[in-house]
Symmetry: C2
Subunit: 196 residues, 2 copies
Amino acid sequence: MYLRYLEDLDTNGQQTASSDELAQLCGTTPAQVRKDLSFFGSFGKRGLGYPVHELTDQLRGILGLGHEWRVVIIGAGKIGAALANYRGFLQRGFRVVGVYDNSPEKIGQPWGEAIVRSMSDLARDVKQEDALIAVLAIPAEGAQDVVDMVVDAGIRAILNFAPTQIAVPPHVSLKSVNMAMELEGLSFALTNKGAA
Amino acid sequence: MYLRYLEDLDTNGQQTASSDELAQLCGTTPAQVRKDLSFFGSFGKRGLGYPVHELTDQLRGILGLGHEWRVVIIGAGKIGAALANYRGFLQRGFRVVGVYDNSPEKIGQPWGEAIVRSMSDLARDVKQEDALIAVLAIPAEGAQDVVDMVVDAGIRAILNFAPTQIAVPPHVSLKSVNMAMELEGLSFALTNKGAA
DNA sequence: CTACCTTTGTGAAGAATTTCACAAGCGACC
DNA sequence: GGTCGCTTGTGAAATTCTTCACAAAGGTAG
């Protein structure tokens, strides 16, 4: 989050930013900003604030955005399309090296700059292309099986959009996004606004 | 999350579920399950566990899923389409009453069961249709302006997919999902696997 | 009815996170 | 060079969240 706003400031030519300013942009507190950043090092100058450009570089390094990540997208549906279309995606060094689906009418179709391939090619391609990240954009049914397969093939991180719990071995990182659940959270908030 | 898995169990005809079982399904601990549920009441029977069907009902009530929520989708792009297509969406009582975009070639196009309308109709429609929830699936630029407008028109909760920080008055609930940020989290995890 | 197995609900302990508050450092200005 | 205003970095305090551990049931079997 800090990186996103620091990049904006950098683009605008701003030289330094105080923890107060970053906090306002990110919707947090100055103390939080300072604690967060201090975890990784001492980037600021007292009396001045943080050097915007230098800090973006540092954060990019910390986040591991210094090189290209090879990503496979599993599921050629709307969510997969939304991700592949997203400019910020490639901008940040995430390169989509393959899109996979198992519906016959989708396989072979052009899809952005790639062509949708069969799930049966997935394991082989992951190994061959050295993809380390997989985006899972398929229905809940069978999601775990697909995960097991790609983990076996060498995938080390998974971004899961399937509305189900996924289990991975400890050497694999996992993040899940569940849109329905987010909406339900809003429903709860609306319903209990008075009580809180 | 509990609701999701309880529904599955209910469909399978299971009568009761222990905190242990729920914890396994949800990827958490039995103690966590019991604390979470006990916050809202005392639903279980000692020695037996939780009554599956009754608890799903209770949770639906707590989450405010007992009635229909009227939702507008702002931005007729891929993300919006993914959401509208999502079955679990309507299933959970979220009814899309309008889709809005400001690109002339999209306005008037059919879109699922609705027709894409102009953003200039948005404020009026929100009032007329009594929509309380808005899904924001547009680029970061101008997102805040759109938010201000719909909040003014009576929207009380926003699910934001625009990759930017959004400010809302205290009576409005906000959840943000940022796919690029999730991926960067994975990049960080991969980069720092050794250190941790 | 009693003994025993199971599982909840919950105070208390422990861990993690956030906020506070202030010394220390930096630059600017006279 | 000294003073002053500003902002960081960080221990300590406060708060929040998670885990532990066990008494209080509910059920069952004999």
